[in-house]
């Protein structure tokens, strides 16, 4: 092309030049050495500033270029004509140009020829760009297809209507439906009826969330089902609009079954142990008290040993069951508003006598103006564990201090003793099951080794943290943090219909409010200190919840909630 330009226009130099931010280089060139040049001293960088042709009959008379090295030095260029070339999107990336060592004028025919050449160069450039983009797109699509179809994990594509666009062989095998027949099926018809509520696919398409994970049951045409762990995310088109949801489904039926059996085993063993233990403990208690007649001194000692160990065993069974339930998330928290002094008073009722017997002074310090939203029984249980431990490991005559303070957005509980302390390498381990610092502790101190794991499970369920600090020889400090409720009162959301209830709760959470949901008007009495949000037509007309009720009307829940809670 540069040869055509050079010959047709009788110019010693002709180039197709591409320019980027810093340099220019010759795609094709006649009459010049070298392939690259500093862009700052090039004619072409001037030419691409405008879409029109750049014509310079005499370089020495044009202040834009007169100073350039190609003018003042070899090859002493005196004239130039350049036509910008642009990409399909209109971005000017270079020129087709000729240059001469003598001044000259350019006729309309000269310019027309150069323009024709520039269009040809443009077409070639754009075609190359397009085919490169196409190739890389095909490659990535092929890769995606390969991952999608050959994956041993079930994969689905679901559109905005909730219908399957495509599913891979693994998923087809899971649900036992040929892949071709899966196309167009609403995904909900493959979902177990009990798991259809609370699916987040709608939020995925509205853009509220980017991805979600949940465990749900998928049903097969023959009525059998399997547990799947679903991870769903959104594929978006070039404009960022939701296109299809990509789901990855792993069959976790076996894991679920093992979990269920373990839970069942723990629960059955627990309850089967409990009943006989209760009888043994009761009988020994009566014997020890001499109800069935005065025992010889030695017999009374042995019965006392039997009774104490039965009690320890009962406690172990109770606490194992409790920990198991807490860790499985099966303990429902009875959350209500309490102040730290209320919590400490309830704790003191349990531990004060133990402290008095051990000759330990208990010191309490807590502000009454802090409000906590917690399950008081459970928090007291955790505090009793911590303070009970502190008493056990404190020398007689020392004190155990319990201090509560506001610390940023959290309440900080500190329990400090003057005991032997905890080796630094055990500070974390003591929160695991049966991990007392000294193996002899459980005999000497009578603990089950489950108190701290239970406390941790309780605190973590409250979205708080628990940890230990210690200077060995000087004592231990246990700390608990519990989130303080935001300044605005939390909201009780009531609606019988789960999806609607969740929709309301989400809307209220988005504007920074703590939310508790209720489906049963009977339990609404616990909503003391709440603002109540209610959907119109949800019932509750006959119930007096004892708190203000706000009725949310209409379909646009978000806007209505914002308006109502402003």
């Amino acid at each position: 092309m540069t040869r055509i330009a050079s010959a047709a226009l009788d110019a010693p130099i002709a180039t197709v030049t591409l320019v980027d931010e810093h340099r220019q280089w010759f795609k094709s060139c006649v009459g010049l050495d070298g392939r690259e040049d500093d862009r700052d001293v090039s004619f072409c960088s001037v030419a691409i500033e405008k879409p029109e042709p750049l014509l310079i009959p005499d370089t020495l008379l044009d202040p834009r270029v007169a100073h350039m090295r190609v003018v003042t030095d070899e090859p002493f260029l005196r004239s130039y004509a350049g036509i910008p070339i642009a990409t399909a999107t209109g971005f000017r990336v270079g020129t087709v140009c000729i240059a001469d060592t003598r001044p000259r004028t350019f006729s309309a025919a000269d310019v027309g020829l150069l323009e024709d050449l520039a269009r040809i160069a443009e077409d070639e450039l754009n075609h190359k760009e397009l085919s490169e983009a196409l190739a890389s797109w095909r490659e990535s699509e092929q890769r995606f297809r390969a991952v999608f179809h050959d994956s041993t994990i079930g994969m689905t594509m679901v559109n905005g209507e909730g219908r399957l666009v495509e599913a891979n062989l693994a998923f087809a095998a899971m649900v036992n439906i040929p892949p071709a027949e899966l196309r167009g099926i609403p995904i909900m018809t493959l979902t177990h009826p009990a798991d259809r509520d609370n699916d987040n696919i709608k939020e995925l398409f509205t853009g509220e969330i980017d991805r979600y994970r949940r465990e749900k049951r998928y049903v097969r045409p023959d009525g059998t089902w399997f547990w799947g762990a679903l991870t769903a995310s959104m594929l978006r088109d070039r404009e960022g609009r939701p296109d299809v949801s990509i789901g990855m489904i792993e069959d976790i039926t076996e894991r679920k079954e093992v979990e269920r059996m373990k839970d069942e085993l723990v629960s059955i063993v627990g309850h089967e142990l409990r009943t006989p233990l209760t009888s043994i403990r009761g009988s020994l208690g009566l014997l020890e008290a001499g109800i069935a007649g005065e025992l010889p001194a030695e017999a009374a000692d042995m019965v006392a040993i039997a009774r104490q160990n039965t009690e320890r065993l009962s406690r172990l069974v109770d606490e194992t069951l409790d920990l198991e339930r807490l860790q499985a998330g099966r303990v429902e928290l009875n959350v209500r508003s309490v102040t730290p002094p209320e919590l400490l008073q309830s704790t003191a009722q349990v531990v004060q006598r133990v402290a008095d017997d051990a000759g330990i002074e208990l010191v309490w310090e807590a502000p009454a103006d802090l409000q906590l939203f917690v399950d008081p029984d459970r928090i007291v249980q955790a505090l009793v564990n911590l303070i009970g431990n502190a008493i056990k490991f404190s020398p007689e005559g020392s004190s155990v201090r319990t201090i509560v303070k506001a610390h940023g957005s959290e309440a900080l509980f500190t329990v400090r003793d003057q005991g032997r302390g905890i080796p630094l390498d055990q500070l974390d381990a003591i929160f695991e099951r049966f991990r007392q610092v000294d193996a002899s502790d459980h005999r000497e101190k009578g603990g089950t080794g489950l108190g701290l794991p239970i406390s941790r499970a309780i605190i973590e369920q409250h979205a708080g943290r628990i940890w230990a600090e210690s200077v060995p020889g000087e004592g231990s400090t246990f700390r608990i943090t519990l989130p303080l409720p935001l300044a605005k009162p939390p909201i009780a959301v009531y609606d019988r219909r789960a999806p609607r209830r969740e929709e309301l709760a989400r809307a209220a959470r988005r504007i920074g409010r703590r939310v508790l949901t209720f489906s049963d008007p009977e339990t609404l009495a616990e909503a003391d200190g709440f603002v109540l949000v209610l959907v119109a037509g949800a019932g509750l007309e006959d119930v007096d919840p004892g708190v203000p009720v706000i009725r949310i009307e209409g379909e646009d829940v978000d806007a209505a909630v914002v308006e109502a809670l402003k």
Binding site: L277, T278, S279, R281, G282, L286
Partner: protein
């Protein structure tokens, strides 16, 4: 001297024996033990007790159902106390119970717990 007549209803023989011994020897009650709703009804018909101790978890007819059958025979004057292993005090009181004692109980402390509720 007897503290009064107490009807104990529990399906577990061990619990019946332990509780009976504690209530009689420590609390001074005259105890009749029944293993089921049927036995409890027969016992009430034979001799109206002053207090009923009633287990919640029983096969066939459970505690609340037994109470429903006993109440017409007992009238309002005889307090009924539930024994329960579950922490479900409120709805049991709503059924008209005078009180609730948690299982497992310390037998030595049981007579005191009964006395505290009947004294109210």
């Amino acid at each position: 001297m007897s503290a009064g007549r107490l009807l104990l209803v529990d399906d577990e023989p061990d619990i019946r024996m332990i509780a009976t011994m504690a209530l009689e020897r420590v609390g001074g009650w005259t105890v009749t033990a029944a293993a089921s709703a049927g036995e409890a009804i027969a016992a009430v018909r034979a001799d109206l007790p002053d207090v009923v101790l009633l287990d919640v978890m029983m096969p066939d007819t459970d505690g609340p159902a037994t109470l429903a059958q006993l109440r017409p025979l007992l009238g309002d004057g005889v307090p009924v106390i539930f024994l329960t292993a579950r922490g479900e005090t409120d709805h049991l009181l709503a059924l008209g119970a005078a009180g609730v004692i948690a299982k497992p109980f310390d037998p030595i402390a049981l007579p005191g717990a009964v006395a505290a509720i009947t004294a109210r």
